[in-house]
Symmetry: C2
Subunit: 197 residues, 2 copies
């Protein structure tokens, strides 16, 4: 009933994160109604991005240049490497403007359940990078989940030989967070890590 | 920091229904990680669909052929026209397999608030189609909202001169619906429209 071309497009759209068959249908209609302003530009943007975006061989970030614009910036602090799980985390940290060092994208976290071992991630590469004499500190910015914290612990062991300081993000009440909405784990961690005002 | 090509793609993705800047970022990363299996095929599918899909001049459905595959099917019942608000509604009715007549997509509902008048919709075209001697019944399948019901009422007035029977979808408890979860409006309508078992 619907043309095979729309069916094919809907199937592809349904594979986008957060989309299912029904929302993909809506998206396909929305695209068809905005053919010149959205559909054709998006088709072109997809091809252009697929052509020019490459993975940085140093930090595994995605960019048009190789190494990426962060790694190739000599003004950044070469003594620090911030370890993140995914590129979206790198973007989030970078957006704060609070960090001026380099990055290292792991590509995931260790997970016994999913069978993800250190060799599936770019951990050996990180250990090699940390061996550089300029590097003093590795900041582990992984999610405060079981898998994230297991990975952080593994990294601190693996990096011991490299002679760098391994730190991790502080845990506590988020800025703007209300005490009575906090879970027990966050509150007790915040209490243990309390600081002088 | 992110390449201009990714930024541009994220901006376009953020215009998809249900997507915002954050989810568009996730989608862009997902696409870049599945370049050959998803990103390039999607780019191509968008161009192909934009090229071949046309609006049916008769019922305003979208299809590769003009008139669309429903309108050009002589096996369908020419005495019935089902009026729907949008193409997705046409797809929903068609999927039931319970209807064998033709369709008419209005492209919206009348709305005093949004300033949508009969001339903004394909209502004059519907009145012209209903004037055809073969048409006996116009089935109004619009949403059971204020705007939908206002439009249904307007249609029944506008189609009176064409000498066709105007019907609308039954209102009541949905199949699988639990009585104690129904709102007052639905329950009282279902009570008024009760049928012999």
């Amino acid at each position: 009933m619907i043309g095979a071309e729309i069916e094919h497009l809907i199937k592809l759209l349904a594979r986008l994160p957060g989309y299912g068959p029904r929302s993909a249908r809506r998206a396909a209609l929305h695209l068809l109604k905005n053919r010149e302003s959205l559909m054709r530009p998006m088709s072109q943007a997809l091809t252009v991005a697929a052509d020019v975006i490459v993975a940085c061989p140093q930090c595994h970030n995605l960019d048009t240049s190789s190494p990426c614009s962060v790694c190739s910036n000599p003004a950044r602090d070469g003594s620090q490497i911030c370890v993140v799980e995914d590129i979206s985390d790198l973007w989030a940290v970078e957006k704060t403007g609070a960090y001026r060092g380099y990055y290292h994208v792991l590509g995931g976290t260790l997970s016994a359940l999913d069978g993800i071992t250190p060799d599936d991630l770019s951990i050996p590469h990180l250990v090699a990078r940390a061996g550089d004499s300029a590097v003093r500190e590795v900041i582990v910015a992984l999610s405060a989940t079981i898998d994230g914290q297991t990975t952080a612990h593994y990294l601190s062991e693996a990096l011991r030989a490299a002679g760098v300081t391994v730190t991790q993000l502080a845990h506590g009440v988020p800025i703007g967070g209300q005490i009575d909405y906090m879970d027990d784990g966050t509150l007790s961690t915040a209490l243990k890590s309390r600081k002088a005002v």
